[in-house]
Symmetry: C2
Subunit: 397 residues, 2 copies
């Protein structure tokens, strides 16, 4: 089979730039601007309030959820979209605790993305009653799943190192101990093959502005295992999760589907952008993406290790243990990343010393990888990172 990758002609990619930060914000796919413009001019401008029906705005969250579902192995009707990933984490966690009322422990790992842990902390502080969060090292999670644990909440791919948890094995371990399993797919959706239906986890959450290229602040998603959705407490019980939102009933009555995890009025402009961005995935399989991602990542590691001895690999060396990013540690990592960016190679930096590079086969090829390493070698060999201009920290890195 001929590869359908890369599809560079489906993206707006600035000339002369190598973009290795699609794991933070994906680039603008072709057609997105036109779609959002049409939503504004024709639908909002021309139809006004009628567009909720006539332009099918009301159906958009579910339509987009189903399109995401296809990329994470989730059946139609099992993924709801909206809000931010932080909110979706809170919903999953709160619902999980309600499913295990006699248990008091949320188990995560010390490498989880901070907002997941912060949201858990906010929930635990609100509940009191002895609830606690445990965060062992990632490799010690399996051993820490005891029968005190109500919910295991893990991010499959570590945001810093790219280390990947084994979803199947950890989900089984959680279930063996009677715990509910929640997967955060922020760095998985569109990056690696995910089999939600197969792994049996109760919940998954994720964002869409990284590998799914939905744009800045694109809506999040939440998956609920279909057989148990009617047992899930929609703790954030907003009107759009109601069985009949426009009946304006005085009491909350949850939708008998994953839509019960919708909350408020959906962000139509962002959803339309995401919907159009998902067109890029038509005809691509996650297996094809994964194979290309490994090829690019392995090439990158080999080239960097050959030409940039100043850097130390901070990701697992074995491809099967890595997501779609590669990280290197470097003492002057912040300044070196600024210098790289100034020279046309965009990755990002994560404290304390991690230079992070995302590999996105939709719009990257081996020529890009080699060219990026050319620039890296120059930045490091000529110590360009010592320029004072690259030392000042901006708020977003």
């Amino acid at each position: 089979m001929t590869s359908t990758l890369p599809r560079k002609d489906r993206f707006h990619l600035p000339e002369g730039l190598i973009y290795l930060d699609g794991n933070s914000l994906g680039p603008l796919p072709l057609g997105v601007t036109e779609r959002v413009e049409a939503v504004m001019r024709r639908e909002w401008g021309g139809e006004l309030i009628r567009a909720w029906n006539s332009a099918e705005w009301m159906a958009l969250p579910q339509k987009v959820g189903d399109r995401i579902g296809r990329l994470i192995g989730a059946p139609a009707g099992s993924v709801a979209t909206g809000d931010t990933l932080s909110i979706k984490v809170y919903q999953a966690l709160a619902a999980a605790l309600r499913l295990r009322p006699d248990r008091r422990v949320i188990l995560s790992d010390s490498g989880n993305f901070p907002t997941d842990l912060y949201m858990a902390q906010g929930l635990v502080d609100l509940l009191g009653q002895g609830y606690e969060i445990r965060t062992p090292a990632p490799e010690e999670v399996a051993g820490a799943i005891t029968d005190e644990v109500a919910a295991v909440m893990l991010t499959q791919v570590d945001y810093r190192s790219g280390r990947m948890h084994d979803m199947g094995a950890l989900t089984r371990a959680a279930h063996d101990a009677g715990a509910v399993m929640i997967w955060d797919l922020a760095h998985s959706a569109g990056a690696v093959p995910v089999d939600m239906a197969g792994c049996g986890a109760e919940f998954a959450v994720g964002c869409t502005y990284k590998y799914l290229n939905g744009g800045p602040g694109a809506p999040a998603f939440i998956y609920v295992r279909p057989d148990m959705v009617e047992d899930v407490a929609p703790v954030l019980a907003g009107w759009l999760g109601h069985a009949a939102p426009f009946a304006f009933e005085p009491d909350y009555r949850p939708a008998m589907s994953v839509e019960r995890l919708r909350v408020g009025t959906p962000p139509i402009l962002q959803l339309a952008a995401l919907d159009a961005a998902l067109d890029v995935w038509d005809g691509v399989t996650m297996e094809e993406i994964r194979a290309a991602s490994i090829t690019l990542s392995e090439l990158f590691i080999a080239e960097v290790e050959a030409r940039c001895p100043q850097l130390t690999l901070a990701s697992p060396r074995a491809a099967e243990q890595r997501g779609s990013q590669v990280s290197f540690a470097f003492e002057h990592g912040y300044a070196a990343m600024q210098a790289l960016i100034a020279h046309g190679v965009i990755g990002d930096f994560r404290a304390p010393d991690i230079m992070r590079f995302g590999f996105t086969p939709l719009y990257l090829d081996e020529t890009d990888v080699r060219a990026a390493v050319d620039v890296m070698a120059k930045v490091l060999d000529d110590e360009l990172y010592r320029d004072p201009a690259y030392q000042t920290r901006s708020r977003v890195t």
Copy 2:
């Protein structure tokens, strides 16, 4: 002083349409499409991840918050934006309960918008421990504020009838009883003058897609009284409410400002649309808006009562007790509204029998009001609402 109203030339308004539903979804202001297009092409497309700094995306939520603050009498730095109104209701309620740990009652009223009550119900169900919600009739709220009440949560302007609560008096009553006051300004912001600083309430929340014309799914806002913001528990403790979001600290440490009520990654496309939409308000005072709104509403009531005897006023007759909408009850209200819409006058319907009309002086004048009543009289006198085409309920009305 010459009136600056209406400013019809600042909006895209379809030819031949009279839009009396700006209280549900405001029309598209001029310049919004261009702004969002620039954000997509130049910033997202051209700057990619760098735009968080270079295009000041990170500062946008606070900038927009300050612009909203000006319209609700709130000082700079006291309004945070993001998420949906439902989420902001939850944050305010949860924080209020934490401020009054010895009390167990949330007091609202039976006319409050359902999602406010649903969110309260979700919170109370999660907390257990004897928490309860009381919903007396709107006119009986003042008498129901006892020393059991932790939080009084009211929508200033009733979504169905337009009846308006007295913010100053009820806030004083809440404080006299030791309760925390939360105002929902969904039908107030941009509709009536609001004096958050003057009324002394601890919290206000609101949405921006109605009178503020921010577009479908535009972000919500939350106000916290500045002197107490450091005592507010950010129960939805997301990373963008952290004092240093990009330090990726393992523990949550809230921002020492209203930004602690931010949660996840801000929806930049929607925020940019809202920011551009707020330009329409430059040089307009809420007093001027209010005066024009009363003129239009009084004319509408007089004309309808003179020419449409089939309808019964369902809003307070006294202008000072009404927001910027007028409702009429009619047995065949649903079908009559469909017929009206088909004949170019857009209002909306709220169960069981309310025909609702919003008055938005930015783009409506007396000629529009008279023309709308011409159509209403014809629909009613000719019983056009009996056409079977107008009987089928769509999901959004």
